[in-house]
C-alpha cells in the first residue's frame, strides 16, 4: 500500500493508503476525501478530479495524454502542475506524495 496526503484548498489534510495500480482520483474517493468528485468514474470525461502535484514528482510521471490535456483546458484554476487524478496511476514511486486539491471541482453547469 502506498501512503498519500491529500490537502484540501483550506489546508485540511488527509493521509490515506492506496493500492498500487489504482489512481489518484480513486485514492481520494475510496477514502472519502472531500474535494475530489470523480464524477465520471475515471474515464477522463468530467475533469472533477483536478489536483496539483509537486513539481519533482510530476517530472517522474508519464506525461498527460492528449485527452487529459483537452479536459484540463476546461478546469478552473489550472496551473503548471495541474493533473487529472484519474489519469495518474499510483506506483511505489509516489509513496508519501502530497496532492493538493483545488477550491472547486466545478461540478454543475
Amino acid at each position: 500500500m502506498i501512503q498519500l496526503k491529500y490537502i484540501e484548498h483550506d489546508g485540511t489534510s488527509h493521509t490515506v493508503t492506496v493500492e498500487e495500480g489504482m489512481n489518484l482520483m480513486e485514492g481520494a474517493t475510496l477514502n472519502m476525501v472531500p474535494g475530489v468528485e470523480g464524477m465520471c468514474g475515471g474515464i477522463c470525461s468530467c475533469a472533477t478530479c483536478h489536483c496539483y502535484l509537486p513539481e519533482e514528482r510530476l517530472r517522474s510521471l508519464p506525461e498527460a495524454g492528449s485527452g487529459e490535456l483537452a479536459m484540463l483546458e476546461a478546469v478552473e484554476g489550472r496551473r503548471g502542475n495541474s493533473r487529472l487524478g484519474c489519469q495518474v496511476v499510483v506506483t511505489a514511486a509516489l509513496d508519501g506524495m502530497e496532492v493538493r486539491l483545488p477550491k472547486s471541482q466545478g461540478v454543475g453547469s
Binding site: M22, M39, S109
Partner: protein
C-alpha cells in the same frame, strides 16, 4: 391527498412516470414499497449521496430490481461488486473508454449509421429503434469484443430475452434466465476461441490477456462479456428512441439543432437528463443509515430513481422544461462516481453521430404516435418502436 405510491413494473406507469415521481419527491422522498420490499430514493441529493457513499450503499448482490438476481449469477459481473475488487477490474477497461479513445470509433459509427439510414430515404418511412437504434450499438460494441456480424442478431435476441418483463412481473422469468444462459454459452465459446491471442488493443484483447496474466478468471471474462452485451446495447438503443421522440415533441428545439448541428452534443445531454434510458439503479444497504428521519437497515434494498433525481426542482431550475441549450452535466443518467457508466463517452458519441446524420436527411420527421411501442423493464426505459414519416428523397 392520495398516498404517493409507485410500482416500477406497472406498464401504464412507464408511459409517463414523471408526475408520480414528482409526488414522491414532494410527499415521501425516502419511500418504502412494501410489495416489492424496496426503498426508493427520488431526490437528486439523496440519490447522489447513495452513489458516492459506496460503503453504505453497496453493489454486491444489488443493481437490478429483482432480489438476488446478482447473486444467482454463475458468471460474475463487476458491476455487482464493490471496491477494491470492483476497482481492480474496472481499471482494466477504463483506459479504452475515454472520449479520446472513443473518437477512433467515430468514423466507423458514422458509416454504420448512414448505412442503416440510407435505404429508407426514398420510402419516407423510418423506425428509429427497429431500423437503427437496435442495430447500431450492438454493432459498435461488437467491434470491440470481436463478435462477428453473423452472430449479432442472436446475441441481441438473448439480451432482449434477459431484460424482457411482463406487466407487473416481479421475478425473473424462464425467458430471462434462458437469455442469460444462452449468452453464457455463447461467450464461453467466444472466450475459448480468443484465449490464446493475439491480444489486440480492444476489449476482447484486454479480457483475454488479463485472463492469461491471472488477473481475471474465465467466469469473470464471460460475465464481463455478458455485461457489455447488455449494458452497451439496450440503454443506448433506448436513448436514441427517447431523443427522436422528445425532439419531435419539441419542434422548436429540433429546429435549433437543424440550424446549428454543433448543439447536438448538448441536446444529447439534455435528453439524458430529461428522459434518460436508465430508470432505477439498485443498491443494498451495507450499514444502517438514517435518511430524512427513516432508518434503512443493513441488508435492505434501495432503488436510486435516476430519472426522478434528474427532474428535481431543487437541483435543476424548471426541471420539466426540455431545453437543448441547458448544458447541465451533473445529471446522473450515467450514475455518478466509482460505478459511473464505463460506456458513457461511447454512448454520447453514438447518439450524437446518429442525430447528426438523421437531422441532415430527415429534419422534418413526424412520429406516428399511435404506433409507438414501449419496452417494459423497470431498469431500462424507452421504446421498441418509434415509427416516423418524412419527406422522401425524389426518385433519381
Amino acid at each position: 391527498m392520495k398516498q404517493a405510491h409507485l410500482d416500477p413494473y406497472d406498464h401504464r406507469f412507464h408511459w409517463d412516470p414523471y408526475p408520480q415521481y414528482q409526488a414522491l419527491r414532494e410527499q415521501d422522498p425516502v419511500y418504502y414499497n412494501e410489495e416489492l420490499g424496496i426503498w426508493l430514493l427520488t431526490k437528486w441529493e439523496d440519490v447522489n449521496r447513495a452513489f458516492r457513499d459506496f460503503k453504505t450503499f453497496i453493489n454486491t448482490g444489488a443493481v437490478s430490481l429483482e432480489p438476488d438476481s446478482g447473486e444467482k449469477l454463475p458468471f460474475p459481473m463487476f458491476i455487482f461488486s464493490d471496491p477494491p475488487d470492483h476497482t481492480r477490474v474496472r481499471n482494466l477497461f477504463a483506459p479504452l473508454m475515454t472520449p479520446d479513445r472513443i473518437r477512433r470509433l467515430e468514423d466507423y459509427t458514422r458509416r454504420k449509421a448512414v448505412e442503416l439510414i440510407e435505404p429508407h430515404l426514398r420510402g419516407g418511412k423510418f423506425d428509429f429503434v427497429a431500423d437503427l437504434g437496435c442495430f447500431l450499438p450492438m454493432d459498435v460494441i461488437s467491434s470491440l469484443t470481436s463478435v462477428p456480424k453473423t452472430d449479432q442478431d442472436k446475441v441481441r435476441g438473448w439480451a432482449d430475452d434477459l431484460i424482457a418483463r411482463e406487466d407487473k412481473q416481479h421475478d425473473l422469468s424462464e425467458r430471462n434466465v434462458s437469455g442469460y444462459m444462452n449468452m453464457a454459452t455463447y461467450f464461453g465459446e467466444h472466450a475459448a476461441k480468443h484465449a490464446d491471442g493475439p491480444y489486440g488493443d480492444d476489449l476482447i484483447g484486454i479480457l483475454m490477456r488479463s485472463e492469461k496474466d491471472g488477473v481475471l478468471r474465465r467466469d469473470q471474462v464471460i460475465g464481463t462479456l455478458i455485461l457489455l452485451a447488455i449494458a452497451g446495447n439496450e440503454t443506448t438503443t433506448k436513448l436514441i428512441g427517447n431523443m427522436a421522440y422528445r425532439l419531435w415533441q419539441h419542434p422548436e428545439q429540433r429546429r435549433l439543432l437543424v440550424e446549428d448541428p454543433a448543439l447536438i452534443a448538448k441536446a444529447v445531454e439534455e435528453v439524458l437528463r430529461f428522459d434518460g434510458s436508465s430508470q432505477i439503479i439498485v443498491r443494498r444497504i451495507g450499514q444502517d443509515v438514517e435518511m430524512r428521519g427513516k432508518t434503512l437497515r443493513k441488508g435492505d434494498r434501495v432503488g436510486l430513481c435516476i430519472i426522478s433525481a434528474n427532474r428535481d426542482a431543487d437541483k435543476f431550475p424548471d426541471p420539466d422544461v426540455f431545453d437543448v441549450r441547458r448544458g447541465s452535466r451533473d445529471h446522473m443518467a450515467f450514475g455518478y462516481g466509482i460505478h459511473s457508466c464505463l460506456g458513457a463517452a461511447l454512448a454520447r458519441m453514438e447518439v450524437r453521430v446518429v442525430f447528426e446524420e438523421i437531422l441532415k436527411r430527415m429534419p422534418d420527421y413526424e412520429i406516428l404516435e399511435e404506433r409507438l411501442a414501449r419496452a417494459h423493464n423497470p431498469n431500462v426505459r424507452g421504446f421498441t418502436h418509434v415509427p416516423a414519416r418524412f419527406r422522401p428523397l425524389p426518385d433519381a
